[in-house]
């Protein structure tokens, strides 16, 4: 269990990187942290791993206050977190097995015990036949598997992953995420994944937090966050393709569909609208299956613009999240996003 309590970090020179961050991550959860570059993600990692002192507040892991730890205690606390890096950071001069053994060497684990653990870990990440290969002889995905095995070597309670799949292709990404999921199930480990890829969050996270300008702007179980249509995170998690072919003034209705609503799927939605004599066109749509439930977002356009209000009313009455927007407004939004990127 990880608990961040009013954590602030102010760098010398007055830059506030973290501002009263509160976060509670129960044991065994896979928690995604998303945010733009400069939002404070890197600082959060450095504070969690004890590489950087926090200015205010407490970070505790399984009840041990990391911020109060010093010396040997701090080193022990660091070992309770295993870290997985975007660029893996394996030592090129060591074989896969020696890289995995490294944290154990530092912890002065006896050699025989070390060898046994390394064999176990290689097995766990499916690389038993690669023990004596140097990192340069491994593919990107295999390197990241070694990186994960190394992070788990000292039997930490927390696996902290910093953009673990950002340097990998989509197939390898899926395999690595699958591995992380399996490890959580088998070892009961708590996982924090820091990422800018919404697909990673959708695929594997139980809960997600949005970090913005050093504060947690939104945090909660994944489906709750997506169902909250007012949250910008919801729109990013289930994002829609652009509808640029439309005239700027064209009226659109944005509908968010979650299986928790009275209307379970899109089929019901359209029969409801035609029952009310409100034919519509779908301009853009996106449907994802998240934690076994279908979640989707649609941009629909009333065929007759005078019926827009009525369509909206019917949808809202049915308990759906629907709002009126125009093609122009969407384009401005998209333009802003591009500028930010």
């Amino acid at each position: 269990m990880i608990e961040l309590n009013e954590v602030s970090k102010v760098y010398p020179g007055g830059v506030t990187a973290l501002n009263s961050v509160n976060l509670h991550i129960p044991a065994g959860e896979i928690h995604g942290i998303v945010g733009r570059s400069g939002a404070g993600k890197s600082t959060l990692i450095r504070c969690l791993t004890g590489l950087e002192d926090v200015t205010e507040g407490q970070i505790s892991i399984d009840g041990v206050d990391l911020t109060a730890a010093r010396g040997a205690e701090l080193i022990a606390a660091r070992r309770s977190i295993g870290m997985v890096f975007q660029h893996v950071n394996l030592l090129d001069s060591r074989t896969a097995a020696k890289n995995i053994a490294h944290p154990l060497e530092i912890a002065r684990v006896p050699k025989a015990e070390r060898r046994r653990r390394v064999a176990e870990l290689l097995e766990l990440v499916g690389l038993s036949d690669r023990a004596d290969n140097y990192p340069s002889q491994l593919s990107g995905g295999q390197k990241q598997r070694v990186g994960i095995a190394r992070a788990l070597a000292a039997e930490p309670g927390v696996l902290l992953c910093d953009e673990p799949t950002s340097a990998l292709d989509s197939t390898t990404t899926r395999q690595i995420l699958e591995l992380i999921g399996q490890l959580r199930d088998r070892l009961g480990i708590t996982v924090i994944i820091i990422t800018h890829e919404m697909s990673v969050v959708r695929e594997i996270c139980d809960a997600v937090s949005l970090l913005d300008e050093g504060s947690i702007a939104r945090s909660g179980p994944l489906l709750d966050v997506i169902s909250d249509r007012s949250s910008p995170l919801s729109k990013e998690l289930i994002s829609l393709p652009p509808t640029s072919a439309l005239q700027p003034g064209a009226q659109l209705i944005e509908v968010l569909l979650t299986e928790s609503g009275t209307i379970g799927h899109f089929g019901d939605l359209f029969s409801l609208l035609s029952r009310n004599g409100l034919p519509t066109r779908v301009e853009a749509g996106s449907i994802e299956t998240i934690q076994g439930r279908q979640v989707g977002r649609l941009h629909i356009r009333p065929e007759d613009s005078s019926t827009a209000q009525k369509t909206l009313q019917v949808l809202t009455d049915a308990g759906l999240h629907a709002e009126l927007t125009t093609a122009a407004a969407l384009e401005t939004e998209a333009g802003l996003k591009e500028e930010e990127a």
């Binding site: 022990a76 660091r78 070992r79 870290m83 660029h87 950071n89 001069s93 530092i106 990192p135 340069s136």
Partner: protein
């Protein structure tokens, strides 16, 4: 013509002094190489670790050390050699012979090699350093197991360049009584116009340099798993 041909390679200088000169050049290079690594490697590590991208950045100390190193690099070797003669006498008891030449050669090579080490360590990615630090490793462990081990191919490369430079400096030391192939070339090849001695000295120096370069490259390649 015939007489001259008979003298080629039958030259008593070649018979009596060549082997000794070769050995002196090798001794000078190896002894200097040894002491250069002994003092230059820790100095290079210190430069890196105190520097802006080191484990313990300490700006004022780094700048002071940097200044001393640059000073050592700036003084031309031939001037350095003559300038520190009193120091050489203090250490070896004489200023003549290959043993004496080792002192100025070492003093000249240390700053050169230290910068090479500093550069090699700087090329070890910071991510590796942080990864191992997060495992709870001490700075000493990180220096030894990450910086030096990952930077080793680069350090061997730097040592090779240092040794090659040293060999040409041993010839310069020969000009002022340092012994070795350089002295033989100057005393006989140049001052007494014995072209065969000159040629043999040149060939042997090239052979030694090539051997050092080849060995250095070979070791660096064997150690490099990147």
């Amino acid at each position: 013509m015939l007489l001259a041909e008979e003298r080629w390679l039958n030259n008593p200088v070649v018979e009596n002094q060549l082997l000794e000169a070769v050995l002196e050049t090798l001794y000078m290079t190896l002894a200097t190489g040894f002491f250069t690594v002994l003092f230059g490697l820790p100095l290079g590590v210190l430069l890196h670790n105190l520097g802006p991208k080191g484990l313990n950045p300490m700006s004022p100390l780094y700048r002071a050390l940097s200044l001393v190193v640059d000073f050592g690099r700036a003084v031309p070797f031939i001037v350095l050699m003559l300038w520190i003669i009193p120091f050489t006498r203090l250490i070896v008891g004489t200023a003549i012979g290959w043993e004496a030449a080792v002192v100025p050669l070492t003093v000249g090579a240390i700053p050169f090699f230290a910068r090479m080490v500093e550069n090699s360590l700087r090329e070890v990615s910071w991510g590796k350093v942080e990864a191992v630090r997060m495992m709870g490793a001490s700075d000493l462990h990180v220096t030894w197991n990450v910086l030096l081990r990952e930077g080793l191919p680069g350090i061997i490369g730097g040592l090779t360049i240092t040794l090659v430079t040293l060999i040409s400096f041993t010839a310069m030391a020969g000009a002022v009584g340092g012994g070795g192939l350089g002295q033989l070339a100057i005393n006989y090849g140049y001052n007494r116009y014995q072209a065969d001695v000159m040629l043999i000295c040149v060939i042997l120096l090239v052979v030694i340099v090539t051997a050092v370069q080849y060995t250095g490259n070979f070791i660096a390649r064997r150690l490099d798993h990147r």
